[in-house]
Amino acid sequence: MDFKGSDTIPGPRTEDHLPHTAQAAVKIVIVGGFGVGKTTMVGSVSEIRPLTTEETMTQAGVGVDDNYGSESKTATTVAMDFGRISITDQLVLYLFGTPGQERFWFLWNGLFEGALGAVVLIDTRRLEVSFDVIGRLEERGVPFVIAVNSFPDAPRYPIADLRTALDLAEEIPIIDCDARRRASSRDVLMTLLRFLHSLARAKAPT
């Protein structure tokens, strides 16, 4: 599949249309540092070519009243790639690969608040770039799992060491993955769903 040029598609291909029966959508956010493989993961499980939604933000420090006409100097474009999986004829799942910096999260209204949960994709060569993301999710009460994207030259830590290093509660799943492989990325999503299910069961046992 060719992911190039996905930013200039005039409209969905015929096979990319949702059925008219599609009633509702849910979303999962894949979050992680630059180059950690978010878009790769989105692309490996998505039924459509990954698409990009962009948002423009003004730089901090610009006054509210005087940015009129000065946009070009202060504007930053932030892109977010996403994909889609049809669950049933009525239900659709969207996956958003989101930059790790929290200041970008507000650009897309309700991105995390409305999400079922999040996958934190990490690269063990740069473990510390995920620290802040994990903390932000904890603060917001967004349930998440950790997926370790296995780059060939990345250090391999035992899961227990990673759990300690990331200071994660025992119940939070940590799994290895290869974001390029559909089956592996799907397993990550399944792990998140099972985790969410266990949380739901714990809250409302029946």
């Binding site: 509702a24 608040e113 904890e138």
Partner: protein, 143 residues
């Protein structure tokens, strides 16, 4: 080899619902009114006079209710052509190459004038719906 060490954080509130008030991390955050602080500074201010926006999520599904009327703007016409079948706001933003906030503003107007219909997303509840989670799992298993 020892990995670097993080320290755990905790939710500001006991329960994740209602969603925490949007952060006002920006220096200009305090300028915003209580209710609409969610929207940071926008480049484009193309809303109506009151700037009111419909509650539109990235995964709200939009469906056209009518053919483009003669009075439709080029953006509205493009939007209506795209969503003859349901399409998420995120996809509309991508195909139209318009920022999410701009699409939201356009859709607010089109919802008011009943050119389009919105199918609301299912958002995370305090108590997630287990049957919903099970449906998603079944769907993923078929991948």
């Amino acid at each position: 080899m020892t990995p670097p060490q993080r320290r755990r954080r905790y939710p500001g509130q006991d329960t994740p619902e209602p969603p925490p008030a949007p952060f006002k991390e920006g220096k200009e955050g305090k300028e915003g009114k209580e209710g609409d602080a969610k929207a940071p500074e926008r480049l484009y201010v193309v809303a109506g006079p009151d700037g009111e926006r419909a509650d539109i999520d990235l995964v709200t599904l939009i469906v056209a209710r009518a053919d483009p009327p003669p009075s439709a703007t080029p953006e509205q016409t493009a939007m209506l052509r795209l969503c003859t079948a349901p399409l998420s706001v995120a996809e509309l933003s991508a195909y139209l190459s318009l920022p999410f906030s701009v699409v939201t503003v356009l859709l607010t107007d089109m919802l008011t004038t009943e050119l389009v219909h919105a199918r609301a997303p299912i958002v995370r509840q305090a108590l997630p719906d287990r049957s919903l989670l099970e449906a998603v799992m079944h769907g993923l298993q078929r991948l």
